[in-house]
Amino acid sequence: MSIPAAVATLRAQSYTITTVAFHASNLRIVSGDDEGWCIQWSLVTRRPITVWKAHGAALLSVKWMSDELLLTHGRDNKLHLHRLDDRPLDTDIPRLGDNPEKWRKPWLIASLDVNALNFCSAATWGSNRIAVPGTLDSDTIDVYDLLPELKRPYKAISCEGVKTGIVMAIELMEDRLIAGYESGHLAIFRLWEDSVSSRIYLCKAHSQPVLSVALHPADSTFISSSADSKLAKHPLYPQYSNAIPMAASTANDDAVCESACLNIVDINHTGIASIDIRDDEKIFAVACWDGMVRVLLYKSLKLLASFKGGRQQGITCTKFGRTLLSDRSEVVSDEGSSLGATHIGQTALAGVPNRATLSSTVVAKQERKVQNKHWLAVGGKDGKIGLWEIY
């Protein structure tokens, strides 16, 4: 079992990191913390590009909806859609007691009041559709379309007749919604047109609340983790797709309609959070409550590596960077270079004539180096993001 190389630590946030997200260019990363601060980092300079306070409470998730649009979901029951373009914003590191109003905020495109009682972060599909726990009932799920105007095509989807407890994790596809529940249940809902949805899969894979689910569309499967020590793999397209009428008709119990998951492994450490499947769809990483990051092979759920992810205290989340950039690296590098250049410039470049050609090639090269690295970011309770290079 190999231990990946620690490349760097992004240190600045004074609060527990709760979520991180790589930008599609693999040049930037956004992190969110316990106090609602968001920091966009350049992986080239390893310094903040943008710092702002996005939410009044801890961030549940940050997600890139497109190259410029960032979705943030906070425990202040808000969902914000920001546009992060080249406009320079503040880069100072917030300290205890600083007034967040001093930091300029990026352009807020949309904002939505949602339910954030149950730590469950929003799921997204495409650049427009999101799924969040229901506003009225934390056991249910609402699906929204953000643009051009806010709509709620599916409302209060739930596992009727089953005691699931509150929703813990959601994943969204074009026609499917995957949900993990407090009870350890996993469910798939088929989203039909005309706001109709139906449950096509239900499985109680875990004895503890589900903490995370992750989709693997190419393999037609998804995996789930929970507060217990197990990882379970489930089919995305279960054969008994007609299970719903059965479930509906057999009103008495879950056991009748429950399906079995495909595979289940026990890693002997309780508390597996934050599953992230790398874009090559071969491996995935989990952040465990014992402070270890574990990297597993998706196909066999075999453990490849496990290492202490954080510096002090524990870890909260892991994310892989992009590894499949070759087709679009050219475009990305152009976009990124302007950004990188503006950033490193800030003080020193001012007043110096632009040495155009050489400069841009150097920056581009450096960026390509960064882009081609196989990053793994680990968010820690000590407010630091460890950057690792792996496989």
Binding site: A6, A8, T9, R11, A12, S14, V44, T45, R46, R47, I93, R95, L96, G97, R311, Q312, G340, I344, G345, A348, L349, V352, R355, T357, L358, S359, T361, V362, V363, K365, Q366, D382, K384
Partner: protein, 1052 residues
Amino acid sequence: MASCEGGAKDGMDPDDKARSDVFQRLKAICVPLSQVALTLGREANAENRFKVVNSLEDLAHTLSTIPPEAYSAQLGDYVFFPLSHLLRLGDKLDDRTTELVLQNLELLISNTWGKNLNPELGKQMCILITFFIDDGTTSSPSRCRKSVSDETKRAGARALLQLFKAASVSKALRDLFQNGDIIPTLAHTISVAVTILMDSDDVDCQLAVVECLRTLLILVIGDGEIIATFLPGVSSALCGIIAPSIKKAHFKVLTTCVELLALLFAHTLPDNDLDQMPDSDASGSTSNNSGSNMLAETSVAMAESSSVAMSRHISGEDQSNGERVRLKTLRSKAWLEATRHQVKMALDPVTRLRTHQRPEVRMEVRNFCARLLQTCFNALENCRSVFLITLIFLSSDSDYDISFESFDFIRNFGRDNEEVMDLVKEGVYGWIDGLQRTLSMQDEPRKTALLLELKVGIDLLIDWDLDMAFLQESFVSNFLGAVWLTASEAPKIVASDVITSSDVVGLQKGVLVENYRLEDGSMTFPALDIQRIIGANATEYLEQILENVGISTNGRGILNDCIRIVSDSESSLQNQGVAYWMYVHMVNGVRKSIEVLEDDSTRQLLSQSAENLNDTSVAMIQGYLDNDDISPEETTIVLLSLEALSLSAEIMGLDFKLSLMDVLYPALNLIASRSMQIRQHAYISLNNIAIAAGYCSLSELLVDNVDYVLDSISLRINTLDISPRTPKILSVLIKLAGSSSIPYLDDIIASIFNLLDNYHGYSRLVEGFFEVLKAVVEETSIAYLTATLAIEDEPRRRPPGIWDLETLLTEIQRKPDVILDNKEDSLRDEKDGDSSGIESNAQEVSDEDELDRVLAERDKHHRETPEAWTSPVPKPWYIIVKRIANLTKYYLSHASPSLRYQLLDLLHTGIPILATSEKELLPLINDTWPPLVHRLSDPEFHIIVAALGVIADYSKYSGDFMTSRIEQVWPTVRALLPRELPREREGRFSRPAQIYSAATACICTVVRHTRLKQETFTSILESVGPFLRYNNDLRQAMEEISSDAVWLYFNV
């Protein structure tokens, strides 16, 4: 007489008038002269001679002052008349007269006859002058010599020169001299002239002769065929002059001789005439034989005999008819072959002049080679390479004109000439091939010369844009074989392997390396030595060669070869070093070139190279961090890598900022090396990086990028990859960057705590880490200095003093405990309840948490709402400082005195910060008290002094909380006090003096801030009583508490 008639006509116009005046003046001299001349023939007595001389002198003077417009041929004829009388006297004339006659003749020819000189007269004159200056050695050396002075010879040569000059512009005269009939005459003249040239010591005479020969041969005769007949004699004479001998020729003579020689060859052996040369001697074997015989003879014979042979040969020719035809065929292929050989031999003395000290001579050598290459490229094909190499040599002449002209010539000449290119290629190949031999030469000038030739050769190839693929392989391998890099001095080991902040300051000021700083703030590296090369020149040339090769079209290939060798783990360390050295210098060449010409492919090459330099250097340095035990080869590699980083930064400029995260820490680590050389290189490298990346100084660079360095350190420290250098670098950084670094430090500090647990036995590490921690505390205290001072200045509750005897008496009646502070009571209660936790070592680790908990509980107990953080120091920082301060208690009894002292100093610095929250301070004092008291019995007195200071600090910031502790410790302090005032002569820094002043200062602070029991106060007063007279501060402090007691002490 025609001239008389001409002169008799009185001029009508001004010109005629002038002419007539001149005529009158000349007449006044000429008439008596001709009379004397006539008498002189009969009666050569002194008087007559004197008269003649006088007249001649007058004549010469008059002639030289005639205004040019008055010149006329008739005038010449007139003046010549008396002279002819004298000339007729021939040998009878004495030397001075001859000289004057010749002088006058010269003037006559140049000023009056000019090109109108009667050809017949000209011929006569040629014969006559030759006669006068011939001292006879030419025709028969054995014969009794006629003595001819140098002055006469000079005058004669000048006269001849004027004659030939006239001939060069007069067709009639020229025809005469080109006529075959006169050849014997000329041959004689030439041989006489050559003899004079060789024998004379008079520079002017020599110059006149050479000039004369030049005019005659080149301007008058001009025909290659005829010149060819004179060639052997003249050229061997010239070579005789040029060749170094005991008699050193004047540089002007040398210059003219070289020039004439070039002209001779150029005229006799021009490529243009090659076509007309018969294959073999078509006109008869005899002449051919005689020709080659002649040449063979001349080549063997010395100069004089050769000219005799020549004249004999010519007179031989004279006897047969149609010599012109025969002469035409002198230059056959066979002749050419033989002559070439001779010429080649003649070249040697000429090319030797390339190192002549006069630039004029060197320039002439350059002209010689250039002219002959241009004119006789094919005819003298055997000499081409000599010419080329001489020119290449001169291309690096110290004189700019010479070097430029030489280089420029070959460059332009060779551009379309494959043969030249091939020759240069061959040369370069040879030089490269012999590089190893060259570098191991003992002869330093020769070594430099060869290197310079190589450099010029390569420059030429580059200039011609030739494919140097033929070189590529041998270039690298020969360099690898020849160059042996060594560190420039025996590695000087610096006493300590670590930098201190004073080092950094020193470094910043450039104390170490000021000499290398350039105007723009960047610095140059002291050159690496190449073994067997003494002096910087050769190294510099090698570097220049590399720089130029870097720019060449084949540079890329060679660059690739080099970097491949560098990154090939199979190559030996030595080869890696040399290849990297080559690479660095070649890239540097490319970098320099881009300042001149900009093109995209070069830019690309540069940025690629910069990347290679970065990656390679970082990879190479990596193995030598924290390592002082490295071999010279490894040192070289490290030094080169540092140079490479600097170069890369210079190439990338501001963009280098992107590389700082990888580069800064390794370079900084090397600054702390034990090797002075590495240190210096690392410093220069970092300095140049700072300048290139747009910073004003190294410290600015570090401050601005402290996050990168700290992250590197953090990663290493986290994997327990540490050496004593790490903490030193850390503390220097913290001191440099100040409080701005503290936000990045929490995990490092946590790692340090962890390391201290694991490595407490390694005192150097422990000391190092405490130095880091102390730096953190210091920086925090500096950052919040004003805030902490404000707290300090807050008016404290003054202890109700013992104002008078009555109070004193009442106080004595009282129970001492009553005056104790509540806080002390409560803490004491806790102590009672949980005394084991404080005392037992086993539980010490949890003490802090335990106390925190206890205090927190107490807080909850007293107030329901959690107390807001009131200290101006942010809580996380405060906690860090507190944890650091708390840590001291485990190490205060450490074996290392310097560590113990450091810890006390740390407490001293930390207390003002910690005092901003009294609630947190008191438990700390409680915890650190026992080990602190132990330090009062430390064997090192300066530690006792420091401990007393900390006790005073405790008292100052916690007031009455200290009462019972002071009373406990008082007997110990009292024991420290001397019986009497320390004697002056022991000095302020003696042990008693130091302890005395520390103890009394401590007592001052304590009595002022902490209320004490009456007994204790009295005891103190009694102990310090003897010093009160001398120590104002102490007396004041005591009086503040009880002036009566003090008064009593003094008066009872």
